[in-house]
C-alpha cells in the first residue's frame, strides 16, 4: 500500500505500471567484495576488468558521500537494501519477437519498437541490469559503426574498452562513480569511425522494473576524428513506495573535429534516486553537446560536464528540470576550459511546483593557459507557486584574464496577465499553465527529435493537471 504522500507525489505518472518480476538470476540484497566478484565472474570478464571493479569497490567503501550537490538528501539511501544485479533474460536479442513476452510488452507500451522503425538508427533496451534487445541498422554496421550494449562491447572489443574505460570518469571521481565502476552492468558502447556521420539518432532505453533495484549502466562513446553522432536515452520505472537507485556513468570522447550530441529525457518514477556522472572530453575543434531533461525521480544529482581539452573545442549544455511535489532536481553543468579559444554555452531552465525544489549547480573553469575563451551561462527558473523553491549555485574559477564570460540568471513566476490572456482564449487554468510551461522549456524541446519533443510537452501538460487547488 502506498502512502498518501507517495501517491500524490507520483500523480498521473503513466509509466508507473510494473510487471511481475521474472528473473533468471537475482543477487541477494546488499554489497560486498564477493558480490562484485560474482558479477564479474557471471559475465565472464577478463581479469583486468575484475581488478578495476575491486579497486573501485574498495574506493567506494572508503569514500565519503559527495559534497557537491544536495548531499543531505543522500542519507536516505540504504545501500544494504538494494539489489545490485538482476538478470531478467539470458540473452540480448536482435529481434523483438525473441525478447521474453512480458518484457517485450513493456517496451511496446513505452513505444520503443515503433520509434525504432520510424526514426532511429539503432536501439538498446535495458531491463534491470542488462540489455534484453539490441539492434543497429545494417548501413551503419557496414560503415564500421559499433553500437553494442557495454557487456557485449567488452567481450567483442576488449582493447578499445581497456584503452578508454574510466579515462574520462575515473572510479575515484566520486562515491557514485566508484559504485558504478564496481558493479556496472549494461549501458552502451559506441564507436564511430573517422569521418562517419551517423544521421539518425541511436537510442538506449533504460527500464527498472523490480523493487529496490539498483541500475548501474555504463556508457562509453567514442567519436573518431571528424565523425558525428546523436545518442538519445530515455528512462522510466514503476512506482513503488520504496526507493530504487539509478547510478550511471557516461563517458564521451570526441576526437579532433568530431561532434557528439547526447540527449536525455529522464522520467524516472518519484521513488528513484538518480545519481549520475556524465562527462565528455572534446579534443581539438570537437564539440560535445548535452541536452539533458530531468522530469522524474525523487532526487536527481547530475551535472553533465565537458572537458575542453583541445584548441577550438566547443561545449553546449542545455538542461531543463521539472521538480514537482516531493522532488528535488539538483542539476547543472560543468565546463572546464583547458585549451585556448575554446567556447561554451550553458542554458539551464527549471520549473518548481507543489513544493518541489530545483537547483542549478554550475562550475565554469578557465585554466591559465586557456587564452581567448568564451562562455555564456544563462539560468532561468520559473516558480509555479509560493511553496516551491529554486536556487542557483554558480561556481567560477577563472585563471585567465582574456576570458570573455557572460552569466545571466532570472527567477520568474507565471503572471496573472498571461493566465488571463490564455484563459480568455478558451484554455482552462491548467491548460494555460501547460502552455506557458511548454513555452518556457521550448529552447530545450526544439533541440530534441520531434517525437521526444511531443512526448515531453504531453508529459508536462499532464503534470499541470490537478495542479489548481
Amino acid at each position: 500500500m502506498m502512502t498518501q504522500d507517495a501517491q500524490e507525489a507520483v500523480g498521473d505518472y503513466r509509466y508507473g505500471f510494473h510487471d511481475p518480476e521474472s528473473s533468471t538470476i537475482r543477487f541477494d540484497k546488499g554489497l560486498s567484495e564477493q558480490v562484485v566478484r560474482d558479477i564479474s565472474e557471471l559475465k565472464n570478464e577478463p581479469e583486468w576488468m575484475t581488478d578495476i571493479r575491486i579497486k573501485a569497490y574498495n574506493h567506494f567503501i572508503e569514500r565519503e558521500m559527495p559534497t557537491w550537490g544536495n548531499c543531505n538528501s543522500l542519507e536516505g539511501i540504504n545501500f544494504d537494501n538494494i539489489t545490485y544485479f538482476l538478470r531478467s533474460s539470458d540473452k540480448t536479442e536482435k529481434n523483438w519477437d525473441d525478447v521474453p513476452e512480458d518484457i517485450k510488452r513493456t517496451f511496446d507500451r513505452l513505444g520503443i519498437p515503433e520509434a525504432e522503425q520510424k526514426w532511429l538508427g539503432g536501439v538498446t533496451a535495458q531491463y534491470e541490469s542488462e540489455a534484453v534487445y539490441h539492434s543497429i541498422r545494417e548501413d551503419l554496421e557496414e560503415q564500421g559503426v559499433i553500437f553494442l550494449d557495454m557487456d557485449s562491447g567488452l567481450k567483442e572489443y576488449p582493447e578499445l574498452v581497456k584503452k578508454y574505460f574510466g579515462t574520462v570518469v575515473p572510479h575515484s571521481d566520486n562515491k557514485f562513480s566508484a559504485l558504478n565502476t564496481a558493479v556496472w552492468s549494461g549501458g552502451s558502447f559506441i564507436y564511430v569511425p573517422k569521418g562517419v556521420h551517423v544521421e539518425m539518432p541511436v537510442q538506449a532505453y533504460f527500464r527498472i522494473n523490480a523493487k529496490n533495484m539498483g541500475q548501474f549502466e555504463r556508457t562509453l562513446i567514442i567519436a573518431d576524428e571528424g565523425s558525428s553522432l546523436h545518442y538519445v536515452e530515455g528512462c522510466t520505472a514503476p512506482t513503488y513506495s520504496t526507493d530504487s537507485l539509478h547510478s550511471a556513468v557516461v563517458e564521451l570522447i570526441a576526437m579532433e573535429g568530431a561532434k557528439i550530441r547526447y540527449s536525455t529525457v529522464q522520467n524516472w518514477s518519484a521513488n528513484v534516486y538518480n545519481l549520475v556522472t556524465k562527462r565528455g572530453v572534446a579534443h581539438k575543434n570537437a564539440t560535445v553537446e548535452w541536452v539533458d531533461g530531468n522530469i522524474g525521480s525523487k532526487l536527481t544529482m547530475k551535472y553533465p560536464s565537458v572537458l575542453l581539452k583541445g584548441e577550438g573545442a566547443h561545449a553546449e549544455i542545455i538542461s531543463v528540470a521539472y521538480a514537482g511535489k516531493g522532488q528535488h532536481q539538483d542539476a547543472g553543468a560543468k565546463v572546464h576550459h583547458l585549451a585556448p579559444n575554446t567556447t561554451s554555452n550553458i542554458l539551464s531552465k527549471s520549473i518548481s511546483k507543489g513544493g518541489g525544489r530545483s537547483s542549478y549547480r554550475g562550475m565554469l573553469q578557465v585554466t591559465p593557459k586557456a587564452d581567448g575563451c568564451r562562455s555564456k551561462v544563462v539560468c532561468d527558473a520559473l516558480m509555479l507557486d509560493e511553496d516551491s523553491r529554486s536556487d542557483t549555485y554558480p561556481t567560477m574559477e577563472i585563471g585567465n584574464s582574456t576570458a570573455d564570460l557572460e552569466h545571466e540568471a532570472s527567477v520568474s513566476k507565471i503572471s496573472g496577465d498571461q493566465l488571463f490572456y490564455l484563459m480568455s482564449r478558451g484554455h482552462s487554468e491548467e491548460e494555460a499553465m501547460g502552455l506557458i510551461v511548454n513555452g518556457f522549456f521550448e529552447p530545450f524541446t526544439r533541440e530534441l527529435p520531434m517525437e521526444y519533443a511531443v512526448e515531453l510537452n504531453r508529459l508536462l501538460e499532464l503534470e499541470m493537471e490537478g495542479s489548481i487547488g
Partner: protein, 248 residues
C-alpha cells in the same frame, strides 16, 4: 428579425483592490449591433471589458452581468470564451516559447470544443491572414513576444476572425495602428460584425469612421452619462469631454 440579446449589464458596480471604478453602469448589446464606448482615461472603459470577460482582479460589488440570458458572475473566464465571448486586449500578454501557429490551433480547438481538421484549419488560417495582410512568418514567432504595437493588434484581430465570437469586446484595438493597418483591422471587424455583438472601446473617431457604430456611449466616472448615434462620437471629437462633465 428577432432581437438576440447577448449582453445585459445592470447597475454594475466594480472595484479593483477596494477602489470603485464602475458605479452603476447599464448596457445592453444585441447580436448584430456595434456599440462604441468613449471616455477619458480612467473613466472605466477597460474595466468594463475586463469585468465582462471575467478578470479575477475585478470585484463586482453590486449589479449583474447577463450573457445570453444567464447571470455569469460565477462563470470562469475560459467558459465565457467557450460560450463565444472574446476580448481583444489593449495590451496582450507575451507567451515566450509558444508559437503563434500552435497557440491559434489550440485556441480554436478549445473554443470550438474539438480540434479543427488540419487541412481545413490551414485553409481558414491562410484566408484570415491574407485578409489581414499578415505574413506566414508570423506563425512561427512566439505569441506577442517582441511584437510591435501594430503586430499585436493584428494578431488580436486574427483571433477574432478565427474564433468567430458571439460577443466581441475590442479594447482600444485602434491604438498604435497606422492608417493602413487601421483600415485592415476595421475591415476585419466589419467582416464579423454582422453575426456578432461588438463593444468597441476607443478614444478616437478615426476607427468609427471605418466601423459604423449603432450606438455611442460616453463613460464618465464609471457610468454611462450619454448615449446616442454616430453623431455623438463626432461631437466628442470636435468638442472634447468638457460638455459631458456638465451633464453629470
Amino acid at each position: 428579425m428577432m432581437v438576440d440579446e447577448l449582453l445585459r449589464v445592470e447597475n454594475l458596480h466594480v472595484s479593483v483592490e477596494g477602489t470603485p471604478i464602475l458605479n452603476g453602469l447599464n448596457l445592453t448589446i444585441n447580436r448584430g449591433e456595434i456599440h462604441a464606448i468613449m471616455g477619458r482615461n480612467g473613466a472605466g472603459k477597460s474595466t468594463l471589458a475586463n469585468v465582462v470577460m471575467g478578470h479575477p482582479a475585478y470585484e463586482i460589488t453590486q449589479g449583474t452581468i447577463h450573457y445570453k440570458g444567464s447571470n455569469i458572475e460565477e462563470m470562469e473566464v475560459f467558459q465565457r470564451a467557450r460560450e463565444g465571448m472574446f476580448l481583444s486586449f489593449q495590451y496582450p500578454a507575451a507567451i515566450p516559447g509558444v508559437q503563434v501557429g500552435t497557440f491559434l490551433r489550440k485556441s480554436v480547438a478549445s473554443v470550438r470544443g474539438e480540434a479543427p481538421p488540419p487541412r481545413e484549419f490551414r485553409k481558414e488560417l491562410k484566408n484570415a491572414m491574407e485578409q489581414l495582410s499578415m505574413d506566414r512568418s508570423f506563425l512561427s514567432r512566439y505569441v506577442n513576444q517582441g511584437f510591435s504595437g501594430g503586430e499585436k493588434k493584428r494578431l488580436e484581430i486574427l483571433q477574432l476572425l478565427l474564433l468567430q465570437p458571439d460577443l466581441a469586446l475590442l479594447d482600444e484595438t485602434d491604438s498604435g495602428l497606422d492608417i493602413d493597418a487601421l483600415r485592415i483591422v476595421a475591415e476585419g471587424i466589419n467582416s464579423v460584425a454582422q453575426n456578432t455583438g461588438c463593444l468597441i472601446i476607443t478614444h478616437y473617431q478615426r476607427l468609427l469612421d471605418l466601423v459604423k457604430p449603432d450606438v455611442v456611449h460616453v463613460l464618465l466616472d464609471g457610468k454611462i452619462v450619454e448615449s446616442g448615434g454616430p453623431e455623438l462620437a463626432l461631437k466628442l471629437e470636435d468638442e472634447g469631454y468638457d460638455w459631458v462633465e456638465a451633464l453629470a
